[in-house]
């Protein structure tokens, strides 16, 4: 679904065919690109599909840009990204094409010979632990813990009440901390 019924940070609906402000669109993409790319990957979008996912996000942004208030650009972008990732995952599951291993696919950058074995192992463990969180918990966890969004920003981006953000974050952290401790202890024993 490309045309999302987003409400937060979006002004009155307007089906405009006017020329989109390309400079503004480029600025938004440029400003949030790294964070957006990592967010999509951590939601389980395979590295080979992230380009396409970002293109979907950009298409939605382009169509809705006139309705997005400047202070809501980041929220709108990540809200759209979450929906795109979520839709991709649902479609893959529906087609039974989902490969859970792809959700913890390791970054191609780890093939770099400069990367130490320890780093590879930690990245692999981190991906496995993160994959244990539900998509909803993971989105909140990643935005808060890694992308340093505030809880209010997460609430706005994911269109959730603050209480829901808080509870998902709490449960996500609990799960992550428990699994991280287990994974590292397992590594120490082996």
């Amino acid at each position: 679904m490309l045309e999302h019924g987003l409400s937060l940070g979006v002004s009155a609906p307007a089906a405009s065919l006017a020329r989109v402000d390309e400079a503004r669109l480029r600025r938004i993409v440029d400003t949030h690109f790294d964070s957006l790319w990592r967010f999509l990957r951590r939601l389980g979008v395979a590295e080979a599909d992230v380009d396409d996912a970002i293109q979907e996000v950009i298409l939605v942004l382009a169509r809705r840009l006139e309705q997005v208030e400047p202070q809501s650009e980041r929220s709108f972008t990540f809200s759209t990204a979450f929906r795109v990732a979520s839709d991709m995952r649902k479609r893959a599951k529906r087609r039974r094409e989902v490969d859970e291993a792809a959700l913890v696919e390791l970054p191609s950058s780890l093939r770099d010979p400069e990367v130490s074995a320890h780093e590879r192992r930690m990245v692999a463990l981190f991906a496995q632990v993160l994959a244990q969180l539900s998509l909803e918990q993971r989105a909140v966890f990643v935005l808060y813990e890694l992308e340093e969004f505030t809880m209010a920003e997460i609430a706005s981006s994911l269109e959730l009440p603050m209480g829901t953000v808080a509870s998902r974050l709490r449960r996500g952290r609990e799960t992550f901390e428990r699994l991280a401790a287990e994974a590292l202890a397992e590594g120490t024993r082996s």
């Binding site: 690109f33 380009d51 901390e177």
Partner: protein
Amino acid sequence: MKEPQRLLSGAGPAQELMTTGSVLRVPSGARQRALQFTGVAVGMSATSTAVAASASTLAKSLVLWVSLGAVGGGVASLTVSEVVSRLDAPHAAPPPAPAVPLKGGPVVGQPPAPTAEVPAAFAAAPALPAEAPAVADAPAVRAARGSKSRPEDAPATPPTASVGAFAETATHTSLLEEQRVIETARAAVARGDATSALATLDGYDRGYAKKQFGPEALALRVQALAAAGRLELARSLARDFEQRYPHHPLLARVQSVGH
């Protein structure tokens, strides 16, 4: 609501795992590809959904041809050949028509010039806009305008003196240019060259503010993406097509992509 301290700022296994394990490098080139796509997205979002409303009979003939061509491999190419030959008819006094330049410089995705893959009917057509047809005399256009615009009823003023005729000529020049770009993309899809098709379509979406072949371009993009194995985006755009052009003749074709 008080925000908890972030795990990375704390201590313990979670912090240890996150510090090293959360490193995620964005591949080089990804940002540039996304930024380049913004221009395409702007072009796609500006596509007019009112093709039929703005199109003349000529445009409708071309749209029909492209529609059928995309689906049936050029079954109706005779239709457009006829139209083009009429436009090229010697009795037509060609007024100087302005170029309708593509926006921007020679960027990636600029529509390539028609190549050998272009069907003969189009390869034989004169290069535009230098030899732009005198649409004022073309039967198809005449019919679209109604009897008032028939040459015999028209004032003796040369076309170049008429702003209206000038604008109309420019419009039809653009229409033919657009049609050629779409045909180039269609030919690329037909021969399985998805990369070239997508580059052509990128150029089309960037280059023409008022896209008179917007639905056809989107349908070809869906096909090209699917051919390139980019099924997620192809399916997503197919759904977009369904929403934007629910009654378009290409809908069934688009819906079949990726299934």
